[in-house]
Amino acid sequence: MTDKDTAVLDTPEMITRRQAVLRVSALLGGAALIGSTAWITGCNTEKPAATGGEAFTNDDVAYLDEIADTILPTTSTPGAKAAKTGAFMALMVRDTYSPEDEKIFRDGMKALDKASKDKNGGKSFMQATPEQRLALLEALDKEQFDYNTKQRAEAKKKSDAFLTERQQGKPEPQSTQATQIVDQPPNKYFRMMKELALLGYFTSEIGMTQAQRYVEAPGRYDPCIPYDGKPAWAGHA
C-alpha cells in the first residue's frame, strides 16, 4: 500500500479498494488509466471462463524481458530483466487477461517484431540494438501518451461541465450509476506491455527494495518530514 493509494482515496477500506482497482485495471490490460482516474471505473466486467491460449515459450519470455528491460533498464539499480519481469508479464497475460486481450497482447508482440524488421533492415526486436529498441518503443509510447492526454482533458472537461450544471441547478441524474466512462485506447498492446512491465518491476523484490525503499514494519508514522531526495517508500501488499 502506498501513499498514492491514500491520496485519491481515503480510509483503509477505500485504500484497499483503490489498490485493488489499480491492479484490476492493470490486469484488464489497461482498460483504465493507472493514475488519478483508474479507480473510478468501478470494474465489473463480465468475462467468459478462463481458457488460456498457448503457453508462452521461453523465447517469448526472453523477448518480453527485452521489451521490459528497454522500458526499465539497469541504471544505478537493476533493471526489469533482472527482476524477471518477462516471466511475470507472460503469467499475467495467461492468468488474468480475457481471451480478447490476450490476443491483442500476442498480436502486439508480432506487430512490434514486424515494426522492428521494417525499420531496422529486417532485424527482429531481439536482433535490434538497444538504441533501435528504444526508438521503437518511444514512438509507440508517444502515441499512447497523446491518447492519454486527450482522455484526461476530456475527463476534466466533463467534471467542469458537471460542476457548472450543478451550479446552475440542473437536476441530478436519477441513479447511482457510474458517470465516468472507461477509456478504450485504439491500439493498446503497447499500453499493456508498459503497464505490465511497470507493475512487474516496481512490485518485484528488486523494484521494491532496490529501486524504491521498503520497510516491512516502519514502527511509526511521521506525517510531515523533509523529503530527502531519495526514492519513494514502497507500499505493502
Binding site: 477505500m14 485493488a20 450543478r166 441524474p173 441513479s175 447511482t176 512490485t203 523494484g207 529501486a211
Partner: protein, 559 residues
C-alpha cells in the same frame, strides 16, 4: 440427536458475537459460541501477514480462475490474492438477487472483524432523533445519553484512536492519541477549516488501530497491511480483542463449522430454549439448549435465522408479527467525491504507512442548513504523493524514466462521501422458496435499491468536496461518481429493527425480540436508521449494553 446445555448461546463470532461472548462470560455465564465457518487462530493463521508483496505470483491481484469461483466477490476489491481465505465462498453461499446486491461475507471465526475498515464513529442525537423528527420509518427507542456510556466502555477496551473535536454531530469518545494528518491534509485542513467554519471541518480519521500499547496488545507498526490479519494484534478484531478475554474466563466454548439453522422456540413458555445447528462438515444436526440466545450472525443472516424459527406460530418466523422482519435493509452509498493536486509540498514527505486518513463529519441538513434531500454524508479521504503507478500515463521509456518513476511524485488529495441511505420498507429480504445451498438450507432473496433521496444527495457528495478543495487552493480538481450498488458499502444494516412498538418493530430498546424476550439480536440487523458513519462501533456498544441487560434480567428471573 444429541443435546448440550449452556447458560447462553452466541451465534456468530464477528464484531458483535465477539463482544457478546466477552461480556456474557465475564459476567459469569457459561457461553457457547457457534461459528458457521472455519477457525482462524490469532497470529498463527495469518499466513500472509508478513509476506513480501513480491511473493504473490500475481502481486496480490486476481486471476480469471478466481473470478470464475467468486462471481460476487469479483465485483469489488475483496477478490484478491492476499486474503482470499478470509472471504466466504460464493459457490457455497449462494443468494438470489432480485436486484443487484453485492454481499461480501466472512464466514469464519472473527467474521469480518478480521477484514473491516476499522473506521469508528459514534452516532449522535441528530441520528437517533432523525426518524421521529422527519416521520421516516419508526423512532429509535434509545437516545445518545443511553448509549454514550457503552460507547465509552467499548472504546476503552477496543482501543480507538481519535482527536477531541467538540463537534455535536460526531460525539467525542475515549480515544487513544490520534493518527495525525499528513502535510497535504493539514495544509488543506488549515485553509478549509477557516473558510467553512466550525461545523464543516477536516479532522483525523478515528480508527480501531492502537496508537499505544493497550490491553496486552502491541501498538500499530504502520505497515498498513491490516486486512491480512495483524501479527501485532494492533487493530481490533474478535481474535485480538474480545475472544481472548472470553476464553480467559474458562467459560467459553467456541465451536467452528456449526451452521445454526433455527432458534428453538417453546410456544407455551413463549421463549427460546436454544438453537438447532448443522455441522458444516458432517451435516449432522445438533440441538444446543440455553437460557438466553444472542444472534450476532451478521445483518442478513440473523434475520434469515429468525425467519426460519417458530414458523409453527408465525409463518414468517420469529419476530415477523410486526410485519417488519426482513424489511428496511440499508447500506451506505459512496464512491462519489472529488480529488485534486497539491502544490508547494514537493520538499515534504511522510514515513510509515498510516492505516487511516482524514474525516469530514456530516454538516448537511444540520445547524440550519436545509437541502432538497434528508440526512447527509461524511467524507473519508487522504492525501499523499504519487508512486510509480503514475508512470503508465506519463511519457517515457528508458533509464531516466525508470529512475524518475522510482522517486515520489506530486502530492494529491481526494475523498469519497459515505451517504446515509433511508430506511425503506420496500428494501427487503425473503427466503427464496426455490433455491437451496449445499447444506439443503433455503437461501435469501435480496430486493434492495437506492431511492430519490440517495440520488439527490450524490450531487452534493461531489460538488461539496470540489468546493472545499478549490477553496483550499487545490489544483486540477475533478469530481467523480464511480457508481454504487446496494451492499457495496459492506455496511448492510436493518431487517430486524429496534423500536418502541411491537406492532412496527422486531426488537425492543434492549435488542430483545418482542416475541421471545430471551432472544437478543445485536448485530447490524437491529439498526433503525443508518446514519452516515461507519456502523461497527455502534454494534459493539449495543451488544455490550444488551449483554449487561440480559444478565441482569436473568438474575432477576425476568427471562
Amino acid at each position: 440427536m444429541q443435546t448440550q446445555e449452556y447458560d447462553a448461546i452466541v451465534v456468530g463470532s464477528g464484531i458483535s458475537g465477539g463482544w457478546a461472548a466477552k461480556e456474557l462470560t465475564e459476567k459469569g455465564l457459561k457461553v457457547l459460541v457457534l461459528e458457521r465457518g472455519k477457525n482462524i487462530e490469532h497470529i498463527k493463521d495469518y499466513v500472509n501477514a508478513t509476506k513480501g508483496p513480491w511473493e504473490y505470483p500475481h502481486r496480490g491481484g486476481r486471476t480469471r480462475a478466481m473470478e470464475e469461483l467468486y462471481p460476487v466477490l469479483k465485483r469489488d476489491y475483496p477478490l484478491n490474492e492476499t486474503n482470499l481465505d478470509y472471504w466466504a465462498s460464493d459457490k457455497d453461499s449462494p443468494y438470489t438477487e432480485v436486484k443487484r446486491f453485492d454481499w461480501f461475507r466472512g464466514y469464519h471465526v472473527g467474521g469480518r472483524s478480521l477484514m473491516w475498515g476499522r473506521q469508528s464513529y459514534r452516532h449522535s442525537d441528530f441520528d437517533f432523533e432523525a426518524n421521529a423528527k422527519e416521520g421516516v420509518a419508526v423512532d429509535w427507542p434509545i437516545r445518545y445519553a443511553e448509549i454514550s456510556p457503552w460507547y465509552d466502555y467499548v472504546e476503552t477496551h477496543a482501543g480507538i484512536n481519535g482527536s477531541i473535536e467538540g463537534m455535536p454531530q460526531l460525539p467525542d469518545g475515549k480515544f487513544l492519541p490520534p493518527m495525525r494528518l499528513n502535510c497535504g491534509e493539514q495544509m488543506v485542513a488549515d485553509k478549509a477549516n477557516k473558510i467553512f467554519g466550525p461545523h464543516r471541518r477536516i479532522i483525523p480519521g478515528r480508527s480501531a488501530n492502537l496508537t499505544q500499547n493497550h490491553d496486552g496488545r502491541t501498538q500499530c507498526q504502520y505497515r498498513n497491511a491490516c486486512w491480512l490479519g495483524c501479527p501485532y494484534g494492533a487493530y481490533f478484531s474478535s481474535q485480538s480483542s474480545t475472544l481472548p478475554h472470553a476464553a480467559k474466563t474458562g467459560r467459553m466454548t467456541l465451536k467452528p463449522y456449526q451452521i445454526v439453522s433455527e432458534v428453538l422456540y417453546d410456544k407455551n413458555a413463549k421463549r427460546a430454549t436454544g438453537v438447532r445447528a448443522m455441522d458444516a462438515l458432517s451435516n449432522e444436526m445438533m440441538d444446543y439448549k440455553a437460557k438466553v440466545v444472542f444472534l450476532c450472525a451478521s445483518t442478513l443472516n440473523s434475520t434469515w435465522l429468525l425467519m426460519r424459527s417458530a414458523t409453527d406460530v408465525w409463518p414468517g418466523g420469529l419476530g415477523s408479527s410486526s410485519g417488519e422482519l426482513g424489511h428496511n435493509l440499508m447500506d451506505h452509498h459512496f464512491r462519489a467525491g472529488a480529488q485534486g493536486n497539491l502544490e508547494g509540498l514537493d520538499d515534504k514527505y511522510v514515513f510509515g504507512r498510516r492505516p487511516n486518513g482524514f474525516y469530514i463529519p456530516r454538516y448537511r441538513n444540520l445547524f440550519g442548513d436545509k437541502r432538497g434531500y434528508l440526512r447527509g454524508f461524511g467524507y473519508q479521504g487522504g492525501a499523499g504523493r504519487d508512486d510509480w503507478g503514475r508512470a503508465v500515463a506519463e511519457l517515457g521509456v528508458g533509464g531516466k524514466f525508470k529512475d524518475a518513476m522510482a522517486m515520489p511524485g506530486g502530492w494529491n488529495i481526494g475523498a469519497t462521501a459515505f451517504g446515509e441511505m433511508l430506511p425503506n420498507h420496500n428494501n427487503k429480504i425473503t427466503l427464496d422458496p426455490n433455491k437451496k445451498d449445499k447444506w439443503g438450507m433455503p437461501v435469501l432473496a435480496i430486493d434492495c435499491a437506492t431511492g430519490e433521496n440517495e440520488h439527490a444527495m450524490r450531487r452534493d457528495m461531489q460538488v461539496d468536496m470540489a468546493e472545499l478543495l478549490n477553496a483550499a487552493g487545490v489544483k486540477d480538481v475533478t469530481v467523480y461518481d464511480a457508481g454504487y450498488f446496494p451492499g457495496d458499502g459492506i455496511h448492510e444494516m436493518g431487517t430486524a429493527r429496534m423500536g418502541r412498538d411491537p406492532k412496527t418493530s422486531v426488537l425492543n430498546s434492549h435488542n430483545q425480540v418482542w416475541d421471545a424476550q430471551n432472544v437478543f439480536v445485536t448485530d447490524g440487523s437491529c439498526m433503525v436508521s443508518a446514519a452516515c458513519v461507519n456502523p461497527s462501533l455502534t454494534y459493539m456498544a449495543l451488544t455490550a449494553r444488551a449483554a449487561d441487560f440480559a444478565v441482569n434480567e436473568l438474575k432477576r428471573r425476568n427471562i
